[in-house]
Subunit: 165 residues, 2 copies
């Protein structure tokens, strides 16, 4: 099974595809397939930024063929509503991609994501990066943090799949 985790944003959208082998009574065997970040520049219009995000993430899906697309659940409270709505634009495009590519969309609670990679619900960005490096046996720290966040969502989703089985 392959899971694509996405951390949507209008400037940076992190993504990470992992392959998951579920094992009875044990932790799932998880391996990195591909990860990266899609950047769009502020000096182009939002229509074009979203088009590039859609195209780039479509390409990742075509190449890596995931079964599940995992994103973080929405929070109820945001400090900056305007920023949150713009994030919502990118998140909408990501959800749409699950629809147009027939992927199962999984919403993972933020605390669950942090717990899955750090053992508790309040890990910072740097800690998540180090834990992702360790869990996936990577030679380097996943950079920028958006990539680590996307992989953390995918890994948390894999753990949830195990709980369901």
């Amino acid at each position: 099974m392959r899971i694509l985790g996405v951390d949507p944003g209008l400037r940076f959208t992190g993504y990470g595809v992992i392959s998951v082998e579920l094992k009875k009574g044990s932790f799932p065997l998880i391996q990195l397939v591909e990860a990266g970040v899609i950047r769009t520049h502020q000096n182009i219009g939002i229509a074009e930024r979203l088009r590039r995000l859609y195209r780039s993430l479509s390409d990742v899906i075509q190449e890596t063929k995931p079964d599940i697309l995992a994103i973080e659940k929405l929070y109820a409270h945001y400090r900056h509503p305007a920023t949150a709505i713009l994030m919502g634009h990118a998140r909408g495009v990501v959800c749409l991609l699950a629809g147009t590519n027939d992927l199962t969309l999984m919403n993972i609670a933020s605390t669950h994501v942090k717990k899955a990679v750090s053992g508790h619900g309040h890990a910072g960005k740097a800690q998540i990066q180090r834990m992702i490096q360790h869990l996936l046996g990577l030679k380097q720290l996943p950079e920028p943090p958006d990539v680590a966040d996307a992989l953390a969502v995918a890994i948390a989703c894999a753990h949830q799949q195990r709980a369901v089985k």
Copy 2:
């Protein structure tokens, strides 16, 4: 010139296409091409809802061939952040459609929309419906209000085009 006005929402997305003939020193001649509402049911997942919105609005664009896609500018303040972010999902998909169909995306301020159809900046939904009926010479009141709102955005955009010329 044809303008597609859209009032995005996750449950109801109103749309309206108008044809505009700009006339020197006079109000533009505006005619209705097509208008309607795209409904998606709450009992299907968000990925599928956004996919249906994308497909339906794509069909409208293919059939009516607008040059401009007009939506209301984002507010900075919202009463219900979670609702606003979900609206942002639908708005993101609408902006994406401008990108994938090479339409010019125009953001129209809410007060400008109300002014264009009612003469002042604080018109209610029912008043906008009546004014749209009058301005476009429709036999019936445009229903639901989402359709009237979408047409109001398109008409406000037409007036702005005139101001630019």
